[in-house]
Every structure is written in C-alpha cells, then in structure tokens.
Amino acid sequence: MSKLKLATVWLDGCSGCHMSLLDLDEGILTVAQQADLVYSPLVDATEFPAGVDVTLVEGAVSSQEDLSKLQTIRARTRLLVSLGDCAVTANVPSMRNTIPVQKLLQFIYVAGADVNPAVPTQGVPALLPQARPLHDYVKVDFHLPGCPPRPDAILALLSAVLEGRAPKLPAVKFG
C-alpha cells in the first residue's frame, strides 16, 4: 500500500522540537519506511500539499501568517499534532501576552533601537493580540508536550499514528 504523507511545520517556535525530531536517530528509518516527508522546513517543498495524512506542528500561533498557515494545514491534513510546549501551551512566546502589541513594538523597535528606530511593517506579518496554542484556533488530534518533547515520545506517537492505532505515550512532562 502506498506510503502515508507526513508533514512538519514550525510556526512561532525555536525549531528545538524539529531538532528533537532529528534526535530519533535510527528511529527515523522505521518512520521513513511508513511515510514520505512531503512538506517540512527540512525539505524544500514550497506549497503545503493537499491530502497529507499526519502533520506535526511546532510553535505557537503568534502572527497573522501563523494563523492562516495553520488554517490551511488543518484543511489539508487528516491528523494534526501539536508538537512541543509552544504549540500545546504557547509556552515562551506567550510571555509577551500581557503587553499590548503596539507598546511592545514601540519599546523594542523604537525606544530600544539605536539605528533607524521604526516599527517594521514591510514583509513582516502583523502580530496577533496574543500568542496562543494551536487548539485555540483549530481542532488538534494529538498533543505532545515537552520543551523539547522527548524523541522516544515523538517516535511512540508517530509510529502509532502511522499504523492507525491509539498512541500509548510514555510519561511526558511540560517544560
């Protein structure tokens, strides 16, 4: 039977979760047999394809672009997994949530800038009022907390999902 389509994306995250994904070491081989990586920062596909089976999404939804990306992903993937604390709880990105966005930008890009102080607008997506977890905007099928999530937990989740059975996760922890 044809291999399943796997995708990974990172929104407002630090790519630590993707590093943890690579830490699967030889575990990657078992995954490679079951699925093709059709879209990921690790491969050079440009457009998120339709008909993806499983997508791992790292990072919080912090900007307008994150949100539109997430909505497109949800429409085109069968299963969506929140990978890591930022996706599950908005983690570190959420630490700006108590500060109004304009004040934040003024503080950093005007007061704090020593050369051409101005709030950037060209080619930079607008910030949402708050950085929020994925499940505040779309239905998420599986959550994998951890900063970064443990590689063995990622493997356990991935192989279960690819084989279509309910995943039995080891004791994962936030943070």
Partner: protein, 236 residues
C-alpha cells in the same frame, strides 16, 4: 485522650487506623497513593486544591486531607470520574496563571508539574488567561513570582503556624486573590519577616525561590520544614 483503634477499607483492603486521623494520613500510612498539593505534613489542612478527593462508600466525594476516618468507612481513592476531575483541576491551575515550565526555576522539581505528568494531562482544554502579575525581588535572599503561584496557602500557614510571624496572608477575593506580605508591601520591607525562608521551602512551585538558581536548579527542602512543623506539634 487515647485514640481508639479502628479499621477502614481503602480500595477494598482493610487498613488499621487511629480515630481522628484523616483519610489522607491513614492511606499514605498504608502506602496508598492519593495526590495532594495544598497539604503539607505538619501544617493545618485547609482543603483548598481538592486534588485529594476520594469517594466515600462509592458515593459522595470528600477531600481526604480534611475528612477524619470513622469505623467501617469504605474509601475509593481512584475511579474514572475522580481521575477526570483531578485532571480538570490541574488544567484549571495551569490556565489560571503563567506556568511557563520550560523557563521556570523549579522546572523538573515542581509538584504541580509532576502531578500533571502522573495524571496524564498533555494539554489544557480551557482558554489560558495570561494574567499580568507582579514579580517581587525586593528580598535580598528570596524572590516571589506571582505568575507561578497556585494560591495553595502553604507559605501563609507555615509562616503563621511554625514561624509565628504571620507575614503572609491572602488579599482580595475569587480569581483576584493574591498572596501579600503585611499591607501589600514589598517583601523586603516586611518588618515582621524573620528571613527564615520556611515559606520558600514550603512552596510547591517556582513562585517562591532562593535567588541565585537558574532554570531547573531550585530544589526545595520541603521535608525538613515539614519535619520541624510536625515536631512543633502544631497540627494536632
């Protein structure tokens, strides 16, 4: 007064107990695991976090920490409903304030965090509140970060019952409640504070910590303070 020896049934097993002891004490004495957060050995129990709820005779849910044992009691320490309620309580605590575990000084040594793991909480169904809360660095040895506080009042009780200074208390009401020192003054200006640091050791999360520790480095000496409290015989 001599306490009468009685026996109660925990999860079907007969367990000896002394009348007047709480279900939590008897269960833990018999090696039964019941989660708790606002309980600390040696301090008077307040029944605030409700994590230690158990079913009495298969029916009503009661907090094990404040319910005394009686002859012939049948206690169920866990059931699908109890587990679901406990998970929901942990989710509510995680949502109430800013528990950013990855950059917390108590990461890996926090009672709330380990409870989330043991109860299988992998995400929070409620909407995070992200409240704006103060950080008090005025005390030269300790730091108070309200973002990590779960209002369990262990700090208040240890300071009042063991140290006797009663520096801390709870101000406000409901969701706006907050731990304060004296007239909501910075900790460093609290004249009645004896700098004993028992509150820091009693605090189950990263809300109170000793200065100088980085992320994941703050390990609390809760057991020593609890031992002192028990020896002081305050809780009876």
């Amino acid at each position: 007064m001599a306490q009468k020896k009685i026996s109660i049934r925990i999860d079907g097993e007969l367990v000896p107990a002394l009348e007047g002891k709480t279900i939590l004490e008897v269960a833990r004495g018999a090696g039964r695991r019941i989660p708790s957060l606002c309980h600390m050995d040696g301090l008077k129990d307040v029944g605030a976090c409700r994590l230690c709820i158990v079913a009495l005779n298969g029916g009503r849910l009661v907090p094990a920490c404040t319910t005394p044992v009686q002859e012939g009691l049948a206690v169920t320490t866990n059931s699908p409903e109890i587990a679901a309620y406990r998970r929901m309580i942990v989710e509510l605590l995680l949502v109430e304030r800013n528990h950013v575990c990855s950059v917390c000084v108590s990461n890996g040594h926090c009672e709330l965090q380990s409870l989330a793991t043991s109860l299988g909480v992998t995400s929070v169904r409620f909407r995070y509140r992200y409240p704006s809360l103060p950080l008090d660095l005025s005390q030269e040895r300790f730091v108070l970060d309200h973002n990590r506080c779960i209002l369990c009042s262990r700090c208040i009780r240890v300071c009042a019952e063991v140290e006797g200074a009663h520096v801390w208390d709870m101000m406000g009401r409901g969701i706006h409640s907050r731990v304060i020192s004296e007239l909501d003054q910075p900790w460093g200006e609290a004249s009645t504070c004896t700098n004993c640091g028992k509150c820091v050791q009693a605090c189950p999360t990263g809300a109170m910590a000793e200065k100088g520790w980085a992320v994941e480095e703050m390990v609390k000496r809760t057991a020593q303070v609890a031992g002192a409290a028990v020896r002081k015989g305050v809780s009876l």
